[in-house]
Each structure stands twice: as structure tokens, then as C-alpha cells.
Amino acid sequence: MTRRRETLTTLVLVGPATLAMTMLIFVPVVVVAGLSFTDYQFGAHSLNFVGLDNYRTLFTDPQARRAVTNTLLYAAVVIPGTCTLGLLVALGLHSLAVRAPRAAAVLRAAYFLPVAATLVAMAVAWQMLLHPNLGLVNQMLAAAGLPGQRWLSDRGLVLYTLAVIGIWQSLGYAMVLFLAGLAAIPPQLYDAAEVDGAGEGWDRFWTVTWPMLGPTTLFVLVITATGAFRAFETVATLTKGGPAFASDVLVYAMYREGFVYFKAGYSAAITMVFFVLTLAVTVLKFRVLENRVHYR
């Protein structure tokens, strides 16, 4: 009787969310997977099964390969950048909050602002700041005697420019999560550490803060990683994958093929490849790191 009751309670707790997830996420994914084997054009009256044709095109197309490498490169810059800077800022603001709470509050808001702003407007601001002749960035570089760059139109540079903007955008996110994690560390631990002689700066960080931040760090890494792989808006608003596909990333390619070119079947195939790739990377990361994380 208790067993049945237990199961029922679990169902009540977990059921609605699982049902919602299935209907809103996984069923659509299955639909998309099915579409990847067809030549469906959005708005068309009929579709044909084409088997693995879409995938064959995908694997032999240099554009598609570039989208994959670009996504990986972008993620390789954004993930460590965001997490490191987010952590540093959180640590700094956390200790500042004790001494000067008002200042810390203002600075926290400043770092969070990029997360809060509508990207379509920020894109216009960024484009002007990065203008080769008229933009603030190049004018300041010129004042310092350094050559200005074509940040958004140099095909070798554009992806890295977008990555820096990506860090700018998600830094505040990581900061907030780290702050929440830091706030949850019981101060008794610090007192105990001080008694043990590890009371200052670096020691304090290594013996108390870093281990206790374990779950938070893992969380931030996973969230930042999934966000970086799913990078879309910056590309869509600033470069549309250009110039000449130099800043093309997987989700944008998927969007372009499906929504701009109306090739829904091909777009679905890109989506499937995207999932496999990011699932593999994320599972790997989670496996490797979760073992190292201490839970209470």
C-alpha cells in the first residue's frame, strides 16, 4: 500500500513535467527526425522520402563541414572565456559586497545588463562600435598606435569577433549563477578553514570555495556549453553567417536552410547531426566532471 502510494506521489510530482517535456520537446524532435529523410519544402503540398540523400549531401558539402568547425571553434572560445570571467567577477563582487554593498549592487547590474538587453538592438550598437572607420574600437586602437581591424568583414576574424560578443553576452549569466553558488557556501566552513591556518586569499579559495562551488561550476559549464553550441542570435543579427559563410554555425545553417531557403528536409538533417555532436560532447563532459564534484 505504501509502495503504491509512493509511486503515485512520484507520478504526481514528476508526471506533468515529463509529459510537457515529451510533448513540447521530444515529440517535435522525432517529427523533425522523420522530416530529415524527406525532401519536404515548407508550404509544399506533398513530400517524398529520399532516404539518406540529405545526409549524403551534408557530409560531402564543404559549407556544412565549415559550419561544424566554426561551431566547435566558437564554443572553444566562448565556454572557457565565459566561465573564467564569470567566476572572477563573481568572486570579486562577492567579497566587495561585504565591504561596499551599494557599489557591488551597481557593478552586478552593469555586468548583467548584456543578458537583459534585446539582441536585435545591441546588434546595431555593436555594428557601429566595430565599424572599420567610424567605430569606437578602431578609433581607440588608432589612438594607441595600433592598426584597426575589419572586425565583422574580415573572413579570418569575424568568428572570433562574434565569440567575444558571445562572451560579453553570457558573462552576466555565469556571474549570477556563481553568485548564487557562493551565497550557498556556509560561512562556518571559512571559519573552520581559518582555524586550520588556511584563512587567506588563495588558500581560502582552494580549500573551501572551489570545492564547494563544484556543483555550481558543473552547472555553469553545462549551461554555457549548450548555449555556445546553440549560438544563433548573434550570427543571425550581425553577419547572417557571412561574409561568404565565414561565420556560419550549425544552428544558423539549420535556420537558413529551413526558413530562408525553405528546404525543411535538409534543415532537419542538419539538426540531427547537430544533436548527435552536441550530445556526445555534453555527455562526455558531464561524465568526466560529475565524478570530481562533491555533493553534500
Binding site: 509512493e6 509511486t7 506521489t9 512520484t10 510530482l13 514528476v14 506533468p16 515529463t18 510537457a20 517535456m21 513540447l24 520537446i25 521530444f26 517535435p28 524532435v29 570571467l85 567577477v89 570579486g92 563582487l93 566587495l96 559586497a97 554593498p101 549592487a105 557593478l107 552586478r108 547590474a109 552593469a110 555586468y111 545588463l113 543578458v115 538587453a117 534585446t118 536585435v120 538592438a121 545591441m122 546595431v124 557601429m128 567610424l134 569606437l136 578609433q139 560579453w168 558573462l171 549570477v176 549563477l177 548564487a180 551565497a183 557556501i185 556556509p186 552547472f219 553545462v222 549551461i223 544563433f232 544552428v251 535556420y255 525543411a264 544533436f275 552536441t278 550530445l279 555534453t282 558531464f286
Partner: protein, 278 residues
Amino acid sequence: MTRDLTRVLTRAFALAALILGAVLVLSPFLWMLALSLKAPDEIFTPNIDLIPNSLHWENYAAAFGRANLLRSLWNGAIVCAGILVLQTIFAVPCAFALAQRRFAGRGVVFGLVLAGLLVPFHVTAIPIFLGLAQVRMLDSYTALIAPFAASVFGIFLFRQAFAALPTEVFEAARVDGLSEPAIVWRIAFPLALPAATAFALFSIVAHWNDLFWPLIATSNPALATPPRAILYFRDAESGAEVGALMAAAVVVVAPMVALFLVAQRRFVQGLAAGGLKG
């Protein structure tokens, strides 16, 4: 003595770095603010002037007058509140069960959550759109709110928060005869308030700024959400109206800043509460 000096210097250096970083991070916003007050011929000039020559309030008048900004702010509030409530109701119990209860299939559900994190909304958008079309629910507040009910991010966040709580508290409550849902909402949820605040913040900000789904799901101008008002002034064909666009953007981001300033007090409270508990 040297130790104190080192400490003071490190603190000063850290503060300077934080402030410099903040200025860098804020620079696009300062630019945006400046642009929102400039007249068109001042916007397109080779000089970098952070301060406008004269305050061109017409940009703000245009944003409110032509792009129906107030209405879209109101819609944004309704939609974000609706989504947050729905997400919390679905995510919190599930997260609690995943963190503090043992049951068959726990790994599967958590695996679904992790997998769900990888799915960008753009992928599921078309099937959801078609589904809503079938039941004729497009172009409504429901269409704007319902698709976001399953927040895997929320489940993940709350699960991590609940996992860090001591099991004894819940065992005691069960012994006391409290029902599981009561434990979830009356005991666990209040203990995870910093996480809940963070989640509320992220959810509201994300959906306030969401352009993609409202653009697909609605065409009735009365349902326009805040980014739509900004988008009114964008035009790839004949050039955007930069000043008015920035003015609309400033107005749209203001509530989010206010929200953050209010919400961050919770973080400080969390810290203080921790101190008192000791």
C-alpha cells in the same frame, strides 16, 4: 604590516579591474543611450561623440507613438508572468523528486532533462506551430505562453539546488505527516530561494526579449511583445531608423534593469541568512 599592505593593494587592484571591466561591458549600452537621443544627421557622422549635441526626444516620441510601445510592454508582462508561473509549477516538483526521492526511471527522466537542454527552440518551433494550428490556438496569449511550459533549464537548476539540501529536514517532515507536495512547496522551495530568484530572472529576461516565437505565433498587432516594437524600426531594405530603434530598445531594457536591481537583493539576503544560521 606587509600582509595588510598586500591585502589593501590586492583589493584596490581587484576593484579597479572590476570597474574597468564594467565600463567595457557597458560601452555598447552607453552608445545605445547616446544614439537614442541623437538626430539622424548626428548619428551618421565620422565623429565619436558620446554626448548628443541636442536631446532629440522625437526618437522616444516615435517609439511610443508609432510602434505601440506601451501595449507591447503590457503584453510582455502578461506573457512573462504566465510563462514563469507555469514553468515553476511544472519544474519544482519534478526537480524535487529527481533530487530527493528514489524511484525507478529517475535516471531516464534526468537524462531527458539533460538531452532537452541541447534542443534549441528553433528546432521544435515548426512542429509546435503546426500542432497549435491544428487546434486553432495560434494568435493568442495561449500560443505565446504554453510552448514554454517545460523548462528543462528550470528542472536542472532546481534539481541542483534541492540536491544540496540535507535529507534529514525532509525525513523529519515526512515523519511529521506532511504530504509530499506540501514538503515540496512549503519546505524545499523556500530553502531554494536564491536559485528560484535566479531562475525567475533568467526566464523573465529570456522571454521578454524573445523575438523568434512571437513572430511565428502571432500576427495580431494587439499581441505584439516588446522586441516587436524595436523591430518596427529595423529595415534591411531601406535602412533602419537607428535613433527611434535605440529609443525603443532603451525603454524595453529598463524594466529588466529594475527587475535585476530588485532581485539581487535576494542574493544578499541569501548570504545574510547563511550567516545568521551559523
